[in-house]
Amino acid sequence: MKLNVLAFGIAKDIFSGSAIDVELTGEATVTALRISLENQFPRLKQLASYMVAVNNEYASAEDVLQLRDEIAIIPPVSGG
């Protein structure tokens, strides 16, 4: 399954763009997405942390991603 993933903050720098396509085989969980991204972009692992958001909500590791979901990588926030 090919997912389009939005990027913000430093994730945009890491992906060299504000969105990226990710091809997942097997069950498309949040964890599977993270593993795939970290393989392709090892710099992700150097972040203090990062979250995955699905349809504008923070997602859990075991959440399953659907083709039409809006998926985003949320590096450590620093508003305020």
């Binding site: 939005l6 913000f8 903050g9 430093i10 720098d13 150097q46 972040l47 203090a48 958001a53 504008n56 909500e57 923070y58 985003a72 949320i74 590096p75 450590p76 926030v77 620093s78 508003g79 305020g80």
Partner: protein, 138 residues
């Protein structure tokens, strides 16, 4: 009543304070963030704020809703800027009106503390010799 806003325009402190004032409320606490001229001794030229807008608005609304449930407050205003800000400009204003001041203080502090943990907004500090996404790395 809750007023949430994410905007590229300068925030209007007077208008924000005016909005929360009401005849039932005796105490208003206002938190105003401003862009500092230095971080850890290094001169900052400007800041850039980026938001994941729909999610940021949703998270800001959640914080305001939770605050309304936790404390007896009448009005909550939460405005955050995006884009490029010069030194001294205001990235965030939080204003809370309550009948009694303790609730206003506690609520205002809860809102800024939680915003900094959960709302998808990112700050980039621009120095003379480079730039850095704040909090990105350990």
């Amino acid at each position: 009543m809750i007023d949430i806003k994410l905007t590229e325009e300068p925030l209007d402190i007077s208008a924000c304070v005016e909005w929360v004032m009401s005849p039932e409320c005796g105490g208003i606490d206002v938190f105003i963030g401003t862009v500092r001229n230095a971080t850890k001794g290094k001169t900052v030229l400007r800041l850039e704020f980026e938001a994941y807008e729909p999610m940021a608005l949703k998270e800001m609304q959640k914080i305001a809703d939770q605050t309304m449930q936790k404390w007896p407050v009448q009005k909550i205003l939460l405005h955050h800027r995006t884009g490029t800000l010069a030194i001294g400009e205001v990235p965030v204003i939080i204003a809370v009106a309550a009948a009694h001041r303790d609730a206003a203080f506690d609520a205002c502090r809860y809102i800024i503390d939680t915003l900094k943990q959960t709302v998808p907004i990112w700050k980039r500090e621009i120095f003379e010799d480079g730039e850095v996404w704040v909090a990105a790395h350990p």
